[in-house]
Symmetry: C2
Subunit: 298 residues, 2 copies
């Protein structure tokens, strides 16, 4: 059974196990070092993957596996696979034809540092490497790869809905924002939890519970993001805020208001907690993570 997580010292410091985080960093670096790649492509991939970041998705994979009675070792292939997908998505989203962002985490984005052609190819390479990493899973490797890539397709669909439309005809805005959020952010967070459970060879009940937890947590995560964007000063949120509204993007607070958004966050938090019920105290570390994700202010 996993030990308790260190208590968060502030509302914006996630309660993460530093040992797990350092294992993730090593596994990512080792996996990329083992690939036979052109030197410039390798440099661009390393720039994208080892540039910091919260590692929320691999943490969810590992914590879900632990909660289901599995081991970190068995779940690590799935954990690094999902982070490779996340890194790919950031590289491509930053491209000039998409969000056209030049800085990320205080460093130049991939296309600024390596050129647009390389950023496209490095993103492609990270996406293709992800199922290669997942293929090493001891249990349910094919199912984990399918889960990973189905979640990735949904994430891409969410990015299309968010920036290029393509909604079913006549869909009301409240359903549109739900479709964007469930796909763009929710899909990979839900997939993280399911992949962890599969890697742990979890029994049906635990897989169902972690799926419910992941789905509710994923949607909640994005509504919290929207709320931060709508209410915080730029300094507090650590990035430009009010950007969504300026861009005319669909947001949860824009449709349901601030109070409606806060109520939905609480509802989803309860839903996520109920998914953990059957895990008993093995779910404690995921509960702590959920508390952080529900209350963070940046």
């Amino acid at each position: 059974m996993p030990t308790a997580l260190p208590a968060a010292t502030s509302v914006n410091e996630p309660p993460l196990d530093p040992a797990l985080l350092s294992q993730i960093e090593s596994a990512l670096a080792d996996f990329l070092a083992a690939q036979d790649l052109p030197s410039n492509l390798r440099a661009a991939c390393l720039h994208a993957v080892l540039a910091g970041g919260k590692r929320l998705r691999p943490i969810l994979v590992l914590e879900s596996a632990l909660a289901a009675g599995g081991s970190v070792g068995d779940a690590m292939p799935a954990a690094i696979a999902i982070e490779l997908v996340h890194a790919f998505s950031l590289v491509h989203d930053d491209l000039p034809a998409l969000d056209n962002d030049t800085m990320r985490r205080g460093k130049p984005t991939c296309h600024v540092a390596f050129g647009e052609a390389m950023a496209i190819l490095a993103g492609d390479c990270l996406l293709a490497l992800a199922p290669v990493a997942a293929a090493s899973a001891k249990h349910h490797a094919a199912e984990i790869q399918r889960e990973l890539m189905s979640g990735t397709v949904r994430m891409i669909a969410g990015q299309v809905y968010d920036t290029l439309q393509g909604f079913p005809e006549g869909l009301p805005p409240a359903r549109q924002v739900e479709l964007v959020h469930h796909n763009k952010t929710g899909a990979l967070l839900e997939a993280s939890c399911r992949m962890g459970a599969l890697a742990a060879n979890a029994q049906h009940g635990a897989l169902e519970g972690l799926t419910r937890f992941g789905k509710a947590t994923g949607l909640m995560f994005q509504i919290v993001d929207d709320l931060i964007d709508a209410t915080q000063t730029a300094e507090h949120a650590g990035k430009a805020t009010g950007k969504d509204a300026d861009l005319g993007k669909l947001t949860y607070p824009g449709i349901h208001g601030l109070e409606g958004s806060r109520a939905e966050i609480q509802r989803l938090r309860g839903e996520a907690e109920s998914g953990l019920a059957s895990l008993g105290s093995r779910g404690d570390r995921l509960r702590a993570l959920l508390d952080f994700l529900a209350t963070r202010t940046k």
Copy 2:
């Protein structure tokens, strides 16, 4: 045992089984129709996948499976998976930041028809869908997915070598062109044959033989392409020729001359044939395909 293929009526008409081709077209259309995608993303994916093309890679998957004693049905998930990867690679290679091509097979390329943002995302989507398709394979699904994505990584590496360099320091040009060809074109053709063998649950000897066939055929295919580019008139080759030399690209004839290239094609053809030896008459259709690929002039 597969029946004999129809005889090719000209050196440039591949000896393909029309029934297999029509099964591939249906399977691709059915798979894409079953995906839950935004309407505009679906249209861009269909534009990229159902725009014609020789379907050489899925044909190699299916013919390899048949040669190894398997069935078309068991190999179809792998066949459509590899064609999705091929379609992804064309969409991204055509992008303005890469080859900047505006027409393909007589139709506007994806980014011309749907915009650059959509072309990036549609390529990503096709790449992510490929292992989802392959996950339905009855035998060795995880291994087929790994083969597919490892081949894809090598193809991307080959594109980087070809257009952005990144070679190991001091590598002589003759080795550079081999690295480009083995990766950029050879990797997916070799993977096609291996995936077919795995899908057929082939015995070790057949898998080894088909791997040898696929590796030699893949490299030969690209040298034939180079030779056509270097020697044919534009009208005969069906596309602009001499383009490689104009771009200063590394080509096999550019380094080894026309005679050296022809000799290497014959050597690789023999190597590919020897890979089929242990399959006896079950390898006949792959032999016919090899003859076509070695002698085509466009």
